[in-house]
Protein backbone atom coordinates (compact mmCIF):
# COMPACT_ATOMS: atom_id res chain seq x y z
CA UNK A 1 0.00 0.00 0.00
CA UNK A 2 1.15 3.56 -0.70
CA UNK A 3 2.08 5.79 2.19
CA UNK A 4 0.33 8.95 1.07
CA UNK A 5 0.78 10.78 4.34
CA UNK A 6 3.86 12.49 2.95
CA UNK A 7 4.71 13.85 -0.47
CA UNK A 8 8.29 12.71 0.09
CA UNK A 9 9.66 10.37 2.70
CA UNK A 10 13.32 9.41 2.49
CA UNK A 11 14.78 6.42 4.27
CA UNK A 12 18.54 6.58 4.83
CA UNK A 13 18.89 8.09 1.37
CA UNK A 14 22.57 8.15 0.45
CA UNK A 15 24.53 9.18 -2.62
CA UNK A 16 28.24 8.64 -3.04
CA UNK A 17 30.51 9.75 -5.88
CA UNK A 18 33.58 7.64 -5.29
CA UNK A 19 34.91 8.75 -1.93
CA UNK A 20 32.68 11.85 -1.83
CA UNK A 21 29.56 11.48 0.27
CA UNK A 22 27.14 13.87 -1.42
CA UNK A 23 24.09 12.85 0.63
CA UNK A 24 24.49 11.04 3.93
CA UNK A 25 21.68 8.74 5.20
CA UNK A 26 18.97 11.37 4.81
CA UNK A 27 15.72 10.79 6.67
CA UNK A 28 13.37 13.58 5.66
CA UNK A 29 9.60 13.84 5.50
CA UNK A 30 7.85 16.45 3.40
CA UNK A 31 4.13 17.02 3.97
CA UNK A 32 1.79 17.28 1.02
CA UNK A 33 0.77 20.64 -0.45
CA UNK A 34 3.47 22.79 1.11
CA UNK A 35 6.54 24.66 -0.04
CA UNK A 36 9.73 23.28 1.47
CA UNK A 37 12.80 25.38 0.85
CA UNK A 38 16.21 23.73 1.07
CA UNK A 39 18.90 26.13 2.21
CA UNK A 40 22.55 25.28 2.44
CA UNK A 41 26.02 26.16 1.33
CA UNK A 42 27.30 24.99 -2.06
CA UNK A 43 27.94 21.25 -2.05
CA UNK A 44 25.61 20.64 0.88
CA UNK A 45 23.58 18.03 -1.03
CA UNK A 46 20.50 20.06 -2.00
CA UNK A 47 20.72 19.42 -5.74
CA UNK A 48 21.72 15.80 -5.20
CA UNK A 49 18.59 15.33 -3.10
CA UNK A 50 16.39 16.82 -5.85
CA UNK A 51 18.08 14.69 -8.52
CA UNK A 52 17.59 11.55 -6.43
CA UNK A 53 13.90 12.04 -5.77
CA UNK A 54 13.31 12.89 -9.42
CA UNK A 55 15.11 9.59 -10.29
CA UNK A 56 17.68 11.39 -12.42
CA UNK A 57 20.28 9.92 -10.06
CA UNK A 58 20.25 6.49 -8.48
CA UNK A 59 20.82 6.24 -4.74
CA UNK A 60 23.94 4.46 -3.50
CA UNK A 61 21.98 3.32 -0.45
CA UNK A 62 18.54 3.80 1.04
CA UNK A 63 15.46 4.90 -0.84
CA UNK A 64 12.63 7.41 -0.87
CA UNK A 65 8.91 7.37 -1.44
CA UNK A 66 7.56 10.10 -3.66
CA UNK A 67 3.78 10.43 -3.57
CA UNK A 68 3.81 6.87 -2.31
CA UNK A 69 6.01 5.50 -5.09
CA UNK A 70 9.45 4.07 -4.39
CA UNK A 71 12.23 5.79 -6.36
CA UNK A 72 14.17 2.53 -6.71
CA UNK A 73 11.30 0.11 -7.35
CA UNK A 74 8.88 2.39 -9.24
CA UNK A 75 10.98 5.11 -10.90
CA UNK A 76 8.63 5.54 -13.86
CA UNK A 77 5.64 6.11 -11.56
CA UNK A 78 7.72 8.68 -9.68
CA UNK A 79 8.55 10.50 -12.92
CA UNK A 80 4.87 10.57 -13.86
CA UNK A 81 4.01 12.64 -10.77
CA UNK A 82 7.22 14.67 -10.45
CA UNK A 83 8.90 17.32 -12.51
CA UNK A 84 12.16 19.15 -11.96
CA UNK A 85 13.48 22.52 -13.13
CA UNK A 86 17.25 22.22 -13.20
CA UNK A 87 19.72 24.74 -11.88
CA UNK A 88 21.37 25.48 -15.21
CA UNK A 89 19.06 25.20 -18.22
CA UNK A 90 21.05 23.55 -21.00
CA UNK A 91 20.69 21.45 -24.10
CA UNK A 92 18.28 21.61 -27.06
CA UNK A 93 20.25 24.53 -28.49
CA UNK A 94 18.46 24.56 -31.83
CA UNK A 95 14.91 24.14 -30.55
CA UNK A 96 12.55 27.04 -30.03
CA UNK A 97 10.96 27.70 -26.61
CA UNK A 98 7.51 26.98 -28.05
CA UNK A 99 8.65 23.55 -29.24
CA UNK A 100 10.41 22.76 -25.97
CA UNK A 101 7.27 23.48 -23.92
CA UNK A 102 5.02 21.65 -26.42
CA UNK A 103 7.30 18.64 -26.25
CA UNK A 104 7.29 18.73 -22.45
CA UNK A 105 3.48 18.91 -22.38
CA UNK A 106 3.19 16.05 -24.84
CA UNK A 107 5.48 13.84 -22.73
CA UNK A 108 2.99 14.29 -19.90
CA UNK A 109 0.06 13.38 -22.16
CA UNK A 110 -1.21 16.89 -22.97
CA UNK A 111 -1.90 17.12 -26.68
CA UNK A 112 -3.81 18.95 -29.40
CA UNK A 113 -5.58 22.24 -28.87
CA UNK A 114 -5.31 21.97 -25.09
CA UNK A 115 -1.53 21.79 -25.37
CA UNK A 116 -1.34 24.84 -27.66
CA UNK A 117 -3.53 26.86 -25.31
CA UNK A 118 -1.55 25.89 -22.22
CA UNK A 119 1.81 26.56 -23.87
CA UNK A 120 0.66 30.00 -25.03
CA UNK A 121 -0.68 30.89 -21.58
CA UNK A 122 2.44 29.72 -19.76
CA UNK A 123 4.73 31.53 -22.20
CA UNK A 124 2.78 34.74 -21.67
CA UNK A 125 2.82 34.26 -17.89
CA UNK A 126 6.59 33.89 -17.95
CA UNK A 127 7.15 36.75 -20.38
CA UNK A 128 8.47 34.39 -23.06
CA UNK A 129 5.81 34.84 -25.73
CA UNK A 130 7.81 37.45 -27.65
CA UNK A 131 10.75 35.04 -27.77
CA UNK A 132 8.73 32.00 -28.79
CA UNK A 133 10.40 31.66 -32.19
CA UNK A 134 13.96 32.35 -31.07
CA UNK A 135 16.28 29.38 -30.84
CA UNK A 136 17.14 28.24 -27.31
CA UNK A 137 20.78 29.18 -27.87
CA UNK A 138 19.74 32.77 -28.64
CA UNK A 139 17.83 33.26 -25.37
CA UNK A 140 19.34 35.36 -22.57
CA UNK A 141 20.33 33.61 -19.32
CA UNK A 142 17.20 34.92 -17.60
CA UNK A 143 14.92 33.82 -20.45
CA UNK A 144 16.45 30.34 -20.50
CA UNK A 145 15.93 30.09 -16.74
CA UNK A 146 12.31 31.24 -17.02
CA UNK A 147 11.77 28.65 -19.75
CA UNK A 148 13.23 25.95 -17.51
CA UNK A 149 10.81 26.84 -14.70
CA UNK A 150 7.89 27.33 -17.10
CA UNK A 151 8.04 23.61 -17.99
CA UNK A 152 6.58 22.79 -14.57
CA UNK A 153 3.60 25.04 -15.17
CA UNK A 154 2.64 23.28 -18.38
CA UNK A 155 1.45 20.15 -16.62
CA UNK A 156 1.53 21.08 -12.90
CA UNK A 157 3.04 17.93 -11.39
CA UNK A 158 2.01 16.62 -7.98
CA UNK A 159 5.57 17.26 -6.82
CA UNK A 160 7.45 20.21 -8.34
CA UNK A 161 11.19 20.41 -7.74
CA UNK A 162 13.01 23.67 -8.44
CA UNK A 163 16.77 24.02 -8.22
CA UNK A 164 17.69 27.68 -7.72
CA UNK A 165 14.71 28.83 -9.77
CA UNK A 166 15.52 32.54 -9.79
CA UNK A 167 19.28 32.45 -10.26
CA UNK A 168 20.15 34.69 -13.26
CA UNK A 169 16.67 36.27 -13.13
CA UNK A 170 16.26 40.04 -12.58
CA UNK A 171 14.39 41.44 -9.58
CA UNK A 172 11.07 41.88 -11.39
CA UNK A 173 11.38 38.39 -12.80
CA UNK A 174 12.10 36.98 -9.33
CA UNK A 175 8.88 38.48 -7.94
CA UNK A 176 6.86 37.05 -10.83
CA UNK A 177 8.49 33.66 -10.43
CA UNK A 178 7.92 33.58 -6.66
CA UNK A 179 4.26 34.45 -7.10
CA UNK A 180 3.93 31.72 -9.73
CA UNK A 181 5.56 29.18 -7.40
CA UNK A 182 3.06 30.10 -4.69
CA UNK A 183 0.26 29.67 -7.22
CA UNK A 184 1.62 26.22 -7.95
CA UNK A 185 1.23 25.32 -4.30
CA UNK A 186 -2.25 26.86 -4.17
CA UNK A 187 -3.25 24.67 -7.09
CA UNK A 188 -2.47 21.59 -4.97
CA UNK A 189 1.17 20.84 -5.80
CA UNK A 190 3.85 20.10 -3.26
CA UNK A 191 6.88 22.24 -4.03
CA UNK A 192 10.52 21.77 -3.02
CA UNK A 193 12.87 24.64 -3.81
CA UNK A 194 16.64 24.46 -3.40
CA UNK A 195 18.24 27.87 -3.09
CA UNK A 196 21.14 29.88 -1.73
CA UNK A 197 19.00 32.99 -1.54
CA UNK A 198 17.72 33.61 1.95
CA UNK A 199 15.23 36.20 0.70
CA UNK A 200 13.75 33.59 -1.62
CA UNK A 201 13.36 31.22 1.30
CA UNK A 202 11.67 33.91 3.42
CA UNK A 203 9.28 34.75 0.61
CA UNK A 204 8.31 31.21 -0.31
CA UNK A 205 8.79 28.76 2.52
CA UNK A 206 6.19 27.04 4.62
CA UNK A 207 9.09 25.11 6.06
CA UNK A 208 12.82 25.47 5.66
CA UNK A 209 15.30 22.65 5.70
CA UNK A 210 18.94 23.54 6.22
CA UNK A 211 21.46 21.19 4.61
CA UNK A 212 25.19 21.02 5.22
CA UNK A 213 27.81 18.45 4.27
CA UNK A 214 25.23 16.09 2.81
CA UNK A 215 23.07 16.08 5.93
CA UNK A 216 19.80 17.71 6.90
CA UNK A 217 20.59 19.84 9.93
CA UNK A 218 17.15 21.13 10.82
CA UNK A 219 13.67 21.46 9.29
CA UNK A 220 11.30 24.01 10.79
CA UNK A 221 8.95 26.79 9.87
CA UNK A 222 10.55 30.22 9.50
CA UNK A 223 9.19 31.38 12.87
CA UNK A 224 10.36 28.26 14.70
CA UNK A 225 13.72 28.45 12.97
CA UNK A 226 14.25 31.97 14.27
CA UNK A 227 13.34 30.79 17.74
CA UNK A 228 16.11 28.21 17.65
CA UNK A 229 18.67 30.96 18.24
CA UNK A 230 19.10 31.38 21.96
CA UNK A 231 18.80 35.11 22.61
CA UNK A 232 18.15 35.80 18.98
CA UNK A 233 15.35 38.31 19.63
CA UNK A 234 16.50 41.74 20.75
CA UNK A 235 14.25 43.96 22.90
CA UNK A 236 15.16 47.60 23.49
CA UNK A 237 13.31 49.19 26.46
CA UNK A 238 13.43 52.86 27.39
CA UNK A 239 12.38 53.68 30.97
CA UNK A 240 11.25 56.92 32.60
CA UNK A 241 13.18 58.32 34.32
CA UNK A 242 15.87 55.57 34.35
CA UNK A 243 16.47 51.82 34.40
CA UNK A 244 17.67 51.03 37.90
CA UNK A 245 19.72 48.00 38.92
CA UNK A 246 16.64 46.50 40.56
CA UNK A 247 14.87 46.61 37.17
CA UNK A 248 17.80 44.86 35.54
CA UNK A 249 17.71 42.16 38.25
CA UNK A 250 13.98 41.75 37.81
CA UNK A 251 14.23 41.44 34.03
CA UNK A 252 17.16 39.03 34.31
CA UNK A 253 15.00 36.70 36.36
CA UNK A 254 12.37 36.36 33.59
CA UNK A 255 12.61 33.00 31.81
CA UNK A 256 14.11 33.47 28.32
CA UNK A 257 16.41 36.36 29.21
CA UNK A 258 19.86 35.70 27.81
CA UNK A 259 21.74 38.98 28.38
CA UNK A 260 21.08 42.58 29.34
CA UNK A 261 23.22 45.53 28.23
CA UNK A 262 22.79 49.07 29.39
CA UNK A 263 22.87 51.47 26.43
CA UNK A 264 22.21 54.62 28.47
CA UNK A 265 20.83 55.52 31.88
CA UNK A 266 17.30 54.96 30.68
CA UNK A 267 17.80 52.42 27.89
CA UNK A 268 18.41 48.66 28.05
CA UNK A 269 19.14 46.22 25.25
CA UNK A 270 17.98 42.74 26.20
CA UNK A 271 18.65 39.56 24.24
CA UNK A 272 15.87 37.04 24.75
CA UNK A 273 14.65 33.76 23.35
CA UNK A 274 11.10 33.96 21.99
CA UNK A 275 10.23 37.61 22.52
CA UNK A 276 6.53 36.81 22.07
CA UNK A 277 6.61 34.84 25.36
CA UNK A 278 9.05 37.13 27.14
CA UNK A 279 7.43 40.52 26.50
CA UNK A 280 4.12 40.00 28.37
CA UNK A 281 6.05 38.80 31.42
CA UNK A 282 8.45 41.77 31.23
CA UNK A 283 5.74 44.40 30.88
CA UNK A 284 3.88 42.78 33.77
CA UNK A 285 7.01 43.07 35.97
CA UNK A 286 7.48 46.68 34.98
CA UNK A 287 3.84 47.46 35.72
CA UNK A 288 3.97 45.70 39.10
CA UNK A 289 7.12 47.67 40.03
CA UNK A 290 5.32 50.91 39.25
CA UNK A 291 7.77 51.90 36.55
CA UNK A 292 7.03 53.76 33.34
CA UNK A 293 8.12 52.77 29.85
CA UNK A 294 8.68 55.31 27.09
CA UNK A 295 9.26 52.82 24.28
CA UNK A 296 9.74 49.15 23.45
CA UNK A 297 11.37 47.99 20.23
CA UNK A 298 11.57 44.33 19.26
CA UNK A 299 13.74 43.00 16.46
CA UNK A 300 13.89 39.39 15.37
CA UNK A 301 16.98 37.81 13.88
CA UNK A 302 16.98 37.70 10.08
CA UNK A 303 17.00 34.34 8.33
CA UNK A 304 20.56 35.24 7.34
CA UNK A 305 21.46 35.36 11.05
CA UNK A 306 19.64 32.10 11.70
CA UNK A 307 21.26 30.36 8.76
CA UNK A 308 24.77 31.48 9.67
CA UNK A 309 24.21 30.66 13.33
CA UNK A 310 23.01 27.15 12.56
CA UNK A 311 25.78 26.50 10.09
CA UNK A 312 28.43 27.77 12.54
CA UNK A 313 27.18 26.15 15.71
CA UNK A 314 25.74 22.84 14.55
CA UNK A 315 28.33 22.05 11.92
CA UNK A 316 31.20 22.90 14.24
CA UNK A 317 29.64 20.72 16.91
Amino acid sequence: MFDLEYAVKTIKLTKRYGSLLALDSLDLKVDQNMILVLLGPNGSGKSTFLHLISTVLKPSNGTAKVMGYDIVEQPLKVRQVTSIAFQDPRGFWRHKPKHILSFHASMYGINGAERSAIVERVMKDFDLWESRDKKFMDLSGGQAKRLEVAKLFVHKPQLALLDEPTAMVDLDGKRIMWDKIRELKESGCTVIVATNEVREAEYLADRISIFAKGKEIITESLVDLKDTIKGGDVVEMEFIPEASDSVIHALASIPGTVSINRISRSKLKISVSRSEDWLPLATNYVHNMGLKLLSIRVSEPSLDDVFMNIIRTRINN
Binding site: T55, L57, K58, R90, G91, H95, H99
Partner: protein
Amino acid sequence: MRTVFNSHQIVTLLKFDLRESFNSVLWVGYSWIYFLFQLFIYGSLISRLVVTVQHYFFYYGTGLIILSSFNIASWAGRRFVEGAHEGRLRYILSLPIGRSEFFVEQICVGVTVNIVRMLPPIMIVLLLSGLFSWINVISTLLVLTLVAIGIMGLMISLSVIAFKSFDIYSAIVASLSALLIRFSTISYPISAMNSLYAHISLTNPLSYGADLLRHVLGIDTSLLLAPYLSISMVVALCVGTLFLGIFFISKFVEGVKSS
Protein backbone atom coordinates in the same frame (compact mmCIF):
# COMPACT_ATOMS: atom_id res chain seq x y z
CA MET B 1 8.28 -6.66 -15.61
CA ARG B 2 6.56 -4.54 -18.23
CA THR B 3 6.80 -5.86 -21.75
CA VAL B 4 4.68 -3.30 -23.56
CA PHE B 5 6.43 -0.07 -24.46
CA ASN B 6 4.69 3.24 -24.06
CA SER B 7 4.65 4.19 -27.73
CA HIS B 8 3.28 7.72 -27.21
CA GLN B 9 6.33 8.80 -25.20
CA ILE B 10 8.72 7.09 -27.63
CA VAL B 11 7.11 8.75 -30.67
CA THR B 12 6.99 12.18 -28.98
CA LEU B 13 10.65 12.01 -27.99
CA LEU B 14 11.58 10.62 -31.41
CA LYS B 15 9.87 13.51 -33.22
CA PHE B 16 11.59 16.01 -30.93
CA ASP B 17 15.04 14.45 -31.46
CA LEU B 18 14.56 14.15 -35.22
CA ARG B 19 13.56 17.79 -35.45
CA GLU B 20 16.91 18.60 -33.84
CA SER B 21 18.87 16.08 -35.92
CA PHE B 22 17.53 17.46 -39.19
CA ASN B 23 17.53 21.06 -38.05
CA SER B 24 20.52 21.78 -40.23
CA VAL B 25 19.65 20.84 -43.81
CA LEU B 26 23.09 22.14 -44.74
CA TRP B 27 24.75 19.42 -42.69
CA VAL B 28 22.69 16.67 -44.37
CA GLY B 29 23.54 18.11 -47.80
CA TYR B 30 27.20 18.27 -46.84
CA SER B 31 27.20 14.58 -45.90
CA TRP B 32 25.88 13.70 -49.39
CA ILE B 33 28.46 15.89 -51.11
CA TYR B 34 31.20 14.33 -48.97
CA PHE B 35 30.03 10.87 -50.02
CA LEU B 36 30.10 11.85 -53.70
CA PHE B 37 33.60 13.34 -53.39
CA GLN B 38 34.82 10.16 -51.73
CA LEU B 39 33.18 7.95 -54.36
CA PHE B 40 34.05 9.89 -57.49
CA ILE B 41 37.54 11.08 -56.60
CA TYR B 42 39.06 8.51 -54.25
CA GLY B 43 36.89 5.59 -55.39
CA SER B 44 37.40 6.08 -59.11
CA LEU B 45 41.16 6.63 -58.77
CA ILE B 46 41.77 3.70 -56.43
CA SER B 47 39.69 1.39 -58.64
CA ARG B 48 42.13 2.07 -61.51
CA LEU B 49 44.98 0.83 -59.33
CA VAL B 50 43.18 -2.28 -58.05
CA VAL B 51 43.24 -4.88 -60.79
CA THR B 52 42.89 -8.07 -58.76
CA VAL B 53 39.26 -7.36 -57.88
CA GLN B 54 36.76 -7.15 -60.72
CA HIS B 55 34.60 -4.03 -60.71
CA TYR B 56 36.46 -2.67 -57.71
CA PHE B 57 34.63 0.65 -58.05
CA PHE B 58 31.42 -1.13 -57.11
CA TYR B 59 33.17 -3.10 -54.36
CA TYR B 60 34.50 0.20 -53.01
CA GLY B 61 31.08 1.88 -53.37
CA THR B 62 29.34 -0.77 -51.28
CA GLY B 63 32.14 -0.56 -48.72
CA LEU B 64 31.73 3.21 -48.61
CA ILE B 65 28.01 2.77 -47.95
CA ILE B 66 28.78 0.57 -44.92
CA LEU B 67 31.50 2.98 -43.79
CA SER B 68 29.16 5.97 -44.01
CA SER B 69 26.48 4.05 -42.14
CA PHE B 70 29.05 3.15 -39.48
CA ASN B 71 29.96 6.83 -39.11
CA ILE B 72 26.30 7.80 -38.67
CA ALA B 73 25.81 5.05 -36.07
CA SER B 74 28.93 6.24 -34.23
CA TRP B 75 27.53 9.78 -34.34
CA ALA B 76 24.35 8.52 -32.68
CA GLY B 77 26.42 7.01 -29.86
CA ARG B 78 28.50 10.18 -29.46
CA ARG B 79 25.31 12.24 -29.48
CA PHE B 80 24.13 10.28 -26.46
CA VAL B 81 27.34 11.07 -24.60
CA GLU B 82 27.25 14.72 -25.66
CA GLY B 83 23.69 14.82 -24.35
CA ALA B 84 25.03 13.87 -20.94
CA HIS B 85 27.83 16.41 -21.21
CA GLU B 86 25.47 19.23 -22.22
CA GLY B 87 22.85 18.48 -19.57
CA ARG B 88 20.27 17.22 -22.09
CA LEU B 89 20.37 13.64 -20.83
CA ARG B 90 19.41 14.45 -17.24
CA TYR B 91 16.31 16.29 -18.49
CA ILE B 92 15.27 13.30 -20.59
CA LEU B 93 15.93 11.01 -17.62
CA SER B 94 13.54 13.12 -15.53
CA LEU B 95 10.68 12.63 -18.03
CA PRO B 96 8.04 9.90 -17.71
CA ILE B 97 9.67 7.45 -20.10
CA GLY B 98 11.26 4.13 -19.15
CA ARG B 99 15.01 3.70 -19.60
CA SER B 100 14.52 0.82 -22.08
CA GLU B 101 12.02 2.90 -24.05
CA PHE B 102 14.50 5.76 -24.09
CA PHE B 103 17.20 3.43 -25.42
CA VAL B 104 14.85 2.14 -28.13
CA GLU B 105 14.02 5.75 -29.06
CA GLN B 106 17.72 6.58 -29.35
CA ILE B 107 18.17 3.61 -31.66
CA CYS B 108 15.17 4.77 -33.72
CA VAL B 109 16.74 8.24 -34.07
CA GLY B 110 19.94 6.68 -35.36
CA VAL B 111 18.11 4.34 -37.73
CA THR B 112 15.96 7.15 -39.16
CA VAL B 113 18.92 9.48 -39.63
CA ASN B 114 20.82 6.60 -41.19
CA ILE B 115 18.05 5.87 -43.70
CA VAL B 116 17.50 9.52 -44.65
CA ARG B 117 21.18 10.29 -45.03
CA MET B 118 22.06 7.04 -46.80
CA LEU B 119 19.18 6.81 -49.25
CA PRO B 120 20.62 9.15 -51.94
CA PRO B 121 24.15 7.63 -51.74
CA ILE B 122 22.68 4.10 -52.01
CA MET B 123 20.64 5.08 -55.07
CA ILE B 124 23.68 6.69 -56.74
CA VAL B 125 25.89 3.62 -56.17
CA LEU B 126 23.15 1.27 -57.43
CA LEU B 127 22.43 3.44 -60.47
CA LEU B 128 26.11 3.64 -61.40
CA SER B 129 26.51 -0.12 -61.09
CA GLY B 130 23.36 -0.86 -63.08
CA LEU B 131 21.78 -2.64 -60.13
CA PHE B 132 19.11 -0.12 -59.27
CA SER B 133 15.80 -1.63 -58.23
CA TRP B 134 13.57 -0.80 -55.28
CA ILE B 135 14.09 -4.33 -53.95
CA ASN B 136 17.85 -3.69 -53.89
CA VAL B 137 17.34 -0.31 -52.26
CA ILE B 138 15.16 -1.81 -49.53
CA SER B 139 17.51 -4.79 -49.03
CA THR B 140 20.47 -2.44 -48.69
CA LEU B 141 18.62 -0.30 -46.16
CA LEU B 142 17.71 -3.43 -44.20
CA VAL B 143 21.34 -4.55 -43.98
CA LEU B 144 22.47 -1.04 -43.06
CA THR B 145 19.80 -0.84 -40.37
CA LEU B 146 20.98 -4.08 -38.76
CA VAL B 147 24.61 -2.97 -38.85
CA ALA B 148 23.73 0.51 -37.59
CA ILE B 149 21.69 -0.86 -34.68
CA GLY B 150 24.63 -3.07 -33.69
CA ILE B 151 27.11 -0.21 -33.83
CA MET B 152 24.80 2.22 -32.02
CA GLY B 153 24.12 -0.33 -29.28
CA LEU B 154 27.87 -0.80 -28.90
CA MET B 155 28.61 2.93 -28.81
CA ILE B 156 25.82 3.72 -26.35
CA SER B 157 26.94 0.83 -24.13
CA LEU B 158 30.46 2.24 -24.22
CA SER B 159 29.04 5.59 -23.07
CA VAL B 160 29.06 4.20 -19.54
CA ILE B 161 32.83 4.85 -19.67
CA ALA B 162 32.15 8.49 -20.55
CA PHE B 163 30.42 9.01 -17.21
CA LYS B 164 33.76 8.27 -15.58
CA SER B 165 35.95 10.04 -18.10
CA PHE B 166 34.97 11.65 -21.37
CA ASP B 167 38.62 11.66 -22.49
CA ILE B 168 39.02 7.91 -22.01
CA TYR B 169 35.71 7.32 -23.82
CA SER B 170 36.82 9.49 -26.76
CA ALA B 171 40.17 7.70 -26.97
CA ILE B 172 38.55 4.24 -26.85
CA VAL B 173 35.88 5.09 -29.43
CA ALA B 174 38.39 6.72 -31.79
CA SER B 175 40.78 3.75 -31.54
CA LEU B 176 37.98 1.21 -31.87
CA SER B 177 36.55 2.99 -34.91
CA ALA B 178 39.96 3.15 -36.59
CA LEU B 179 40.57 -0.56 -35.96
CA LEU B 180 37.06 -1.63 -37.00
CA ILE B 181 37.39 0.22 -40.31
CA ARG B 182 40.97 -0.91 -41.11
CA PHE B 183 40.61 -4.54 -40.07
CA SER B 184 37.51 -5.22 -42.12
CA THR B 185 36.42 -6.05 -45.63
CA ILE B 186 35.03 -2.55 -46.16
CA SER B 187 37.77 -1.63 -48.63
CA TYR B 188 39.47 -4.92 -49.46
CA PRO B 189 38.44 -8.61 -49.47
CA ILE B 190 39.78 -11.19 -47.00
CA SER B 191 41.65 -12.88 -49.84
CA ALA B 192 43.82 -9.76 -50.24
CA MET B 193 44.91 -9.78 -46.60
CA ASN B 194 47.78 -11.61 -44.96
CA SER B 195 46.90 -14.30 -42.43
CA LEU B 196 47.13 -12.09 -39.33
CA TYR B 197 45.01 -9.28 -40.79
CA ALA B 198 42.50 -11.83 -42.12
CA HIS B 199 42.11 -13.44 -38.70
CA ILE B 200 41.54 -10.08 -37.03
CA SER B 201 39.10 -9.03 -39.75
CA LEU B 202 37.09 -12.20 -39.24
CA THR B 203 36.32 -11.06 -35.68
CA ASN B 204 35.02 -7.74 -36.96
CA PRO B 205 31.23 -7.39 -37.40
CA LEU B 206 31.77 -4.71 -40.06
CA SER B 207 33.38 -7.34 -42.31
CA TYR B 208 30.22 -9.41 -42.12
CA GLY B 209 28.03 -6.35 -42.64
CA ALA B 210 29.95 -5.25 -45.73
CA ASP B 211 30.02 -8.74 -47.25
CA LEU B 212 26.35 -9.34 -46.44
CA LEU B 213 25.47 -6.17 -48.35
CA ARG B 214 27.56 -7.33 -51.33
CA HIS B 215 25.87 -10.73 -51.23
CA VAL B 216 22.46 -9.08 -51.25
CA LEU B 217 23.44 -6.98 -54.26
CA GLY B 218 25.07 -9.89 -56.07
CA ILE B 219 28.72 -8.87 -56.23
CA ASP B 220 31.40 -11.52 -57.06
CA THR B 221 30.68 -14.03 -54.26
CA SER B 222 34.12 -15.68 -54.48
CA LEU B 223 35.53 -12.67 -52.63
CA LEU B 224 33.00 -12.69 -49.82
CA LEU B 225 32.47 -14.37 -46.49
CA ALA B 226 29.75 -17.04 -46.38
CA PRO B 227 26.31 -15.37 -46.49
CA TYR B 228 24.74 -17.42 -43.66
CA LEU B 229 27.71 -16.68 -41.44
CA SER B 230 27.47 -13.01 -42.36
CA ILE B 231 23.78 -12.71 -41.60
CA SER B 232 24.20 -14.66 -38.35
CA MET B 233 26.99 -12.38 -37.21
CA VAL B 234 25.14 -9.19 -38.13
CA VAL B 235 21.93 -10.30 -36.41
CA ALA B 236 23.91 -11.47 -33.36
CA LEU B 237 25.65 -8.08 -33.17
CA CYS B 238 22.33 -6.29 -33.51
CA VAL B 239 20.46 -8.33 -30.89
CA GLY B 240 23.46 -8.62 -28.54
CA THR B 241 24.21 -4.91 -28.39
CA LEU B 242 20.50 -4.09 -28.07
CA PHE B 243 20.28 -6.13 -24.89
CA LEU B 244 23.68 -4.85 -23.72
CA GLY B 245 22.57 -1.26 -24.31
CA ILE B 246 19.27 -1.73 -22.49
CA PHE B 247 21.13 -3.36 -19.58
CA PHE B 248 23.70 -0.57 -19.31
CA ILE B 249 21.22 2.26 -19.71
CA SER B 250 18.88 0.77 -17.11
CA LYS B 251 21.57 -0.08 -14.59
CA PHE B 252 24.27 2.54 -14.88
CA VAL B 253 23.22 5.65 -16.79
CA GLU B 254 22.49 8.65 -14.59
CA GLY B 255 21.81 12.28 -15.33
CA VAL B 256 25.23 13.57 -14.48
CA LYS B 257 27.52 15.62 -16.62
CA SER B 258 30.34 13.50 -17.99
CA SER B 259 33.68 14.70 -16.73
